[in-house]
């Protein structure tokens, strides 16, 4: 195998040059080889590795290898390792190194040498670490320092084990806040650790505390359930533990109760032990002594060693200034303990220790004074002052759990704002809390004196947290006193808050049955009542009292129908000593009246100021009129509430009184803005019975009604109201009345409404018709005056003109069906293209009285000589008659 110089440099020379410890060892070996030890000193080295000589090399191969080594050493002179190895190789001598047997001998002697090295190493470590424990990091460091860095850790650990030194990993102290109660409890000799508190009376030894919290054989872990059991055990075995220790144990267990898992318990215990170890170390105790102390407290030796080793590295020794600091922080007890534990330190000034000692004593004196005030106040039952004194003492020594416990055990203040309220046959007691959730209350009922303590009387409630209590068994008709005590711990109670009351139950099942002028009342009275008082109150405020002889009922007569009366009933009680007391009143309103019925004969009429409504009176009941949309669906004789009527968009009409007949009610109300369904409601409570509704209201009338004659027709026209309406036209034909309904469309198509003029006599009326579904309503009609037309006289003409001479004659025939009598007529002649418009528009050729008593008449006229074309036309001399012209063909002469 060819020597690889580069590989040898990188794998051997360079690493060795950088490893100072190995270089030192190499130098030592060189020195030893040069000294008396000789070549055998090289057994400490792993020569095969250093010189890269492999087993099985032949002579020639070894020679070539050595040659390569030499060349490499020469070439790498700048590396110290190369120089040293070259020197060693030279010291071996060329004869030896060229012999493969030499290298085999070195390898076999190396194993023996290594054992000696390890023993030396282990011994040194054991002396350096009296706690007999090192961490793997420490082990590596020491081994490297002793040139054993290349040995496996297991070999090193094995060597250490032979010296009683264990290799254990480092660990972290849990960063857990230690409750004062946990610190406090271990001050008592009964409890070495908090494990003792939990397992009392058992005191385990050889506890594993670092990796886990376990004890016993087989190993058992500490669980939260153990804490619960410990609390119960402590309560059951109170007498077996000194009181202060017990109290401290209770507090500690209380703090432990908040831990929910074994790991939390482990962390807290380890932290507490670390704290204790730290305290011990700070007092300057030797580490081995501290370990011994921990072992005494039940900690397994190796864990105790690890704890001490772990903490000793960072623990500082405390001094007098720490005592002053604790005093300033209000930790008097700790200050005292530290002061007592501190041995005189090097360089310590005697005055300083005296001054610190004086400060501690002053604080202790102050605390004693506060405590004395507390005791004095307690005796005088001035709990407020006692609490103040305790709080002052705690300000001096805040870590004194005993003071804290006393403060907690002080009785609370009496409950405030106590009030009693009677509810039927029960009595409710209420009071106010002072904000302390730990306070519980006891309620004591007495009928005579105030109770002297929380058990003096009928304890109706105990240990309740609520601030009210309902006593359903309160004595009836008896003056009773209720006292409420407050307590925190169930042993010391506050002074009582008291109040007195008497339970006077009211009568019940109070009912009234009204007649027309009377009312029958009934009720039930509590059996403890001596009687009842019934009071009648009329609307005008007058009162009457009745003391019914018959239990539970009373008939009251002479009442006014339809008037609402209020009746109240109170139970009468006779208290001890003969005092007479009345309960609260139970009231009801009732109205004497007849039987309820719906209004079924509502009549609504138009009135000048609106509308008038009439109906048969329903004795004793009020009738309301509701206006609903005309499309609303209501069923007569059913019951509807005001809310239901309102939901149907109904509104209550305001009715004014009117004068109705006997047995009839008449009311007036304002004109309705539209057509509505008027629903009478017979009131009975909220709502009432629905009566038979009527459609009423007002719809807009037509405007500008006009009647015009057009020949034989009467043309009616008007301005339509806005909206969808129909108009009903009414007229009289003789004595009969005719109507015609006209829609807007037909009106438009026909160009108004046309009636035969001859049919219409008198006025024509127009009414607006509103239709909604099957409902229909016709407004009050308005009249259109139709002018009286003068009776008509018809005439016919026969005009003749002689073609020769131009003389003309006219024969006039008159006829009238409407006129009887005489009328003066003018015959007018006009010789022109256009016919005469009036009697003045031509020549009056004849004026005569015509007798039409028979309905007919005629006459002839000689017109004389006329020029064609000419016109003959007859006019009346007055407006008494109308003269209807014949066709113009008769009037024109040619």
């Amino acid at each position: 195998m060819t020597f690889d110089a580069a590989k040898y440099k990188n794998s051997v020379l360079v690493p060795l040059a950088r490893d100072k410890a190995r270089l030192d060892v190499l130098q030592q070996v060189i020195r030893d080889v040069q000294g008396t030890v000789g070549v055998g000193a090289a057994a400490r080295l792993n020569a095969s590795e250093l010189f890269a000589v492999e087993p099985g090399m032949g002579v020639a191969e070894l020679a070539a290898h050595l040659k390569g080594l030499e060349m490499t050493y020469n070439k790498q002179k700048n590396l110290p390792s190369a120089g040293l190895l070259k020197k060693l190789l030279d010291l071996f001598g060329k004869d030896k190194v060229g012999d493969p047997g030499f290298w085999a001998g070195l390898a076999s002697s190396r194993g023996q040498a290594l054992k000696g090295q390890l023993a030396e190493f282990a011994h040194a470590v054991a002396e350096e670490h009296p706690l007999d424990v090192v961490t793997p990091e420490q082990l590596s460091e020491i081994a490297a320092g002793m040139g054993l860095g290349d040995l496996p850790e297991a070999d090193l650990a094995e060597a250490l084990a032979e010296q009683g030194v264990e290799v254990r990993p480092d660990f972290e102290i849990p960063k857990v806040a230690l409750p004062p109660a946990i610190r406090k409890v271990t001050e008592f000799p009964e409890f070495r650790t908090i494990v003792d508190v939990v397992l009392r009376p058992e005191q385990p030894t050889d506890m594993s505390v670092i990796e886990e919290l376990a004890f016993g054989s087989p190993a058992r872990r500490l669980e939260p359930a153990d804490v619960v059991a410990a609390k119960q055990r402590l309560q059951q075995q109170e007498a077996q533990v000194e009181e202060r220790a017990r109290q401290a144990a209770q507090n500690a267990l209380g703090a432990l109760t908040e831990l929910k898992s074994a790991s939390e318990l482990h962390a807290l215990t380890l932290a507490a032990l670390a704290g204790a170890t730290d305290d011990l170390l700070r007092r300057g105790l030797p580490r081995v002594a501290v370990r011994t102390e921990l072992v005494k407290r039940g900690v397994r030796s190796i864990d105790a060693s690890r704890l001490v080793a772990r903490l000793s590295a960072s623990t500082q020794v405390l001094g007098l200034s720490d005592v002053a600091d604790r005093l300033t922080e209000g930790a008097l007890g700790e200050a005292r303990r530290l002061l007592d534990a501190l041995p005189p330190l090097d360089g310590e000034h005697a005055d300083e220790r005296a001054r610190v000692t004086a400060s501690v004593e002053t604080a202790e004196k102050k605390k004693r004074q506060f405590f004395a005030q507390y005791e004095a106040s307690l005796k005088s039952r001035d709990y407020v002052a006692a609490a103040t004194a305790l709080r002052d003492a705690l300000s001096v020594d805040s870590q004194d759990d005993d003071l804290r416990g006393k403060l907690a055990r002080l009785p609370p203040l009496p409950p405030a704002s106590l009030s009693l309220r009677v509810e039927g046959r029960s009595l409710e007691i209420t009071w106010s809390a002072d904000g302390d959730d730990a306070i519980r209350y006891s309620v004591v009922r007495t009928t005579s004196e105030m109770p002297v303590n929380h058990k003096d009387g009928d304890v109706v409630a105990a240990g309740i947290q609520a601030t009210k209590f309902r006593d359903d068994m309160a004595p009836i008709g008896t003056l009773v006193r209720y006292s409420v005590f407050a307590t925190r711990d169930g042993s010391s109670y506050s002074d009582p808050a008291t109040a007195m009351s008497v339970v006077l139950p009211t009568p019940y099942d109070f009912a009234a049955s009204p007649g027309t002028t009377d009312v029958s009342l009934s009720w039930a009275a509590p059996p403890e009542a001596a009687g009842v008082v019934v009071t009648e109150t009329a609307p005008d405020g007058t009162r009457k009292e009745y003391r019914p002889a018959t239990p539970g009922q009373l008939a009251v007569g002479g009442l006014r129908t339809g008037t609402k009366y209020r009746f109240s009933v109170k139970a009468v009680y006779l208290l001890a000593g003969g005092e007479r007391r009345e309960s609260a009143a139970v009231e009801l309103d009732t109205t004497p009246r007849g039987s309820i019925r719906p209004v079924d004969d509502l009549l609504v009429e138009a009135a000048p100021a609106g509308h008038t409504a009439r109906w048969s009176s329903v004795v004793g009941f009020t009738i309301e009129l509701w206006a609903l949309p005309i499309t609303a669906d209501v069923t007569p004789a059913t019951r509807m509430t005001s809310a239901e009527l309102t939901t149907l968009s109904g509104r209550r009409l305001t009715l004014r009184p009117g004068i109705g007949g006997i047995g009839e009610t008449k009311r007036e109300f304002d004109a309705l803005p539209d057509v509505s369904l008027l629903v009478p409601i017979t009131l009975d409570g909220d709502g009432g019975l629905v009566g038979t509704p009527q459609v009423a209201g007002s719809a807009p009338s037509v405007q500008k009604p006009t009647a015009e004659r057009f020949g034989d027709e009467l043309r009616l026209s008007w301005e339509w109201p806005k909206g969808d309406y129909i108009v009903e036209v009414g007229w009289r034909v003789g004595s009969a009345r005719s109507t015609k309904r006209v829609s807007r469309t037909s009106y438009n198509d026909e160009g108004g409404v046309r009636l035969p003029a001859s049919e219409v006599s008198g006025e024509v009326t127009l009414a607006t018709v509103v239709r909604a579904g099957f409902q229909e309503w016709v407004s009050a009609p308005i009249s259109i005056p139709v002018s009286v037309v003068a009776p008509a006289v018809k005439y016919a003409l026969s005009v003749k003109r002689s073609k020769f001479g131009g003389k003309a004659t006219v024969a006039v025939s008159l006829e009238s069906h409407q006129f009887r009598g005489s009328v003066e007529l003018l015959t007018v002649l006009k010789e022109a293209k256009f016919m005469p418009n009036a009697s003045s528009d031509g020549t009056v050729v004849d004026r005569r009285m015509v007798d039409l008593s028979s309905g007919r008449s005629s006459f002839s006229l000689d017109l004389g000589k006329v020029v064609a074309p000419f016109w003959v036309r007859v006019f009346p001399s007055s407006s008494g008659v109308r003269v209807e012209d014949p066709p113009t063909s008769q009037m024109r002469g040619q």
């Binding site: 405007q703 500008k704 006009t706 015009e708 004659r709 057009f710 020949g711 034989d712 027709e713 043309r715 026209s717 008007w718 301005e719 339509w720 806005k722 009106y747 438009n748 198509d749 160009g751 108004g752 046309r754 037309v789 008509a792 293209k833 256009f834 016919m835 005469p836 418009n837 109308r882 209807e884 012209d885 066709p887 113009t888 063909s889 009037m891 024109r892």
Partner: protein, 392 residues
């Protein structure tokens, strides 16, 4: 063969056409194997009515109803005017009547036509048991007339706006087809039908003779309804001012002169001859004078509902209206009518029936109350012998 060469005016463009030589469009239903035609703008429609819609092509040569589209082989569509390419109603024939409605501005032509449109299809149709339709009534003047009436019928109805002057542009007239059973002399009924159309011009078109001459369509009319505003007569001018009505700038006689000139020119009537076209002279807005006319006056008689035209009653009204016109200072108008027209008749009518608010141009709040609106057209139809008349 003159009967086969007789012509009648197209009811849309008033061009004299031979009803037997009408035009047809391609129906668009192309024959198998042929490419379909495409709709295109029709230059004739554009020229006459400014109609730029796309239509199927016109089949050429014109005049053969059996011809198929030479391009796509499709059947022909319904007949139409070979000049303006308007579809002709089935009732169209040589006896169809074209009626011109003329009058000065604000004389109430559009209002009267709007009401007449409604009455023709309701009361007149009822009276004669006829069907009177307006083909294509959803467009053109017929549609405008219906819209006008609906607007007037509203509660705050407004009068139609002034009709724009036609100028050189064309407006499609309102065309009606009338069909009914006419009893013959021996009681045998036969179906009679005709087409008549109204052309509504703007009043300004007759303000001067020059402008009136542009209304060449009048030459093709078979009758004219001349609407005269009663407020235009001298005696009524003060009354018009009192009521807030506009006094026409052009007097009744001037209008008559203009139209007479047009008709004489169009028909080539010699000076010593009279125009043969019947002319119905309607005094509109007669409701404004109801206070002067007694209720039993013939002019206030409602229209007859009997299924014939009462010539005697019409003549009576004519005489009474003539008397009124004379009274209002219009005697010369009557004389001009007598001297220029063979047949004329005076009418009094009111399309509104009740006086509007002349200033705000709002219909009377009592609505439309028309009076004797259809009498002139009925007279013209009776004159043509299309409806029976009696009492003459």
């Amino acid at each position: 063969m003159a009967i086969f060469n007789s012509t009648a005016a197209c009811p849309y463009c008033y061009t004299e056409i031979n009803p037997r030589k009408l035009a047809y469009r391609c129906s668009g239903r192309h024959a198998a194997g042929k490419s379909p035609c495409e709709k295109k703008a029709d230059s004739s429609r554009q020229k006459h009515f400014n109609d730029s819609d796309a239509y199927w092509p016109v089949i050429t040569p014109i005049g053969s109803a059996s011809a198929h589209c030479p391009s796509c082989g499709a059947d022909p569509g319904p007949p139409m005017c070979p000049e303006c390419h308007s579809l002709l109603p089935a009732e169209y024939g040589a006896d169809s009547a074209m009626i011109g409605l003329v009058g000065v501005r604000d004389s109430g032509k559009t209002v009267l036509l709007s009401q007449l449109d409604a009455e023709l299809q309701s009361t007149v149709a009822d009276r004669f048991d006829a069907t009177i339709d307006a083909p294509g009534g959803k467009a053109g003047l017929a549609r405008a007339l219906r819209v006008n009436r609906e607007l007037m019928l509203k509660s705050d109805g407004v009068l139609p706006a002034q009709t724009d002057s036609s100028g050189g542009a064309k407006r499609a007239p309102a065309v009606y087809a009338w069909r009914y059973n006419r009893k013959g002399p021996i009681g045998i009924s036969r179906t009679a039908s005709t087409v008549f159309s109204f052309y509504d011009n703007a009043g300004e078109d007759f303000a001067t003779p020059d402008r009136a001459l542009s209304q060449v369509y009048l030459g093709a009319t078979s009758g004219v309804i001349l609407l005269l505003d009663p407020f235009g007569f001298p005696a009524n001018r003060e009354r018009a001012k009192t009521k807030g009505a506009d006094v026409p700038d052009t007097g009744p006689e001037a209008v008559l002169d203009a139209i007479t000139m047009v008709l004489r020119t169009a028909k080539g009537v010699k000076r010593n001859k009279k125009v043969k076209q019947p002319i119905a002279v309607v005094i509109s807005k007669i409701d404004a004078f109801f206070d002067q006319i007694p209720s039993d006056h013939p002019l206030r008689q409602p229209s007859s509902s009997r299924p014939f035209f009462d010539e005697s009653e019409s003549q009576t009204v004519h005489d009474h209206v003539g008397s009124l016109v004379e009274q209002w200072g219009g005697a010369s108008l009557i004389r001009k009518l007598e001297h220029n027209y063979t047949t004329f008749r005076l009418f009094g009518a009111s399309a509104l029936g009740a006086e509007p608010d002349y200033r705000s141009r709002r219909v009377n709040s009592r609505g439309l109350l028309p009076h004797r609106v259809a009498e002139p057209i009925l007279w013209l139809m009776a004159t043509r012998g299309f409806i029976p008349s009696t009492g003459g």
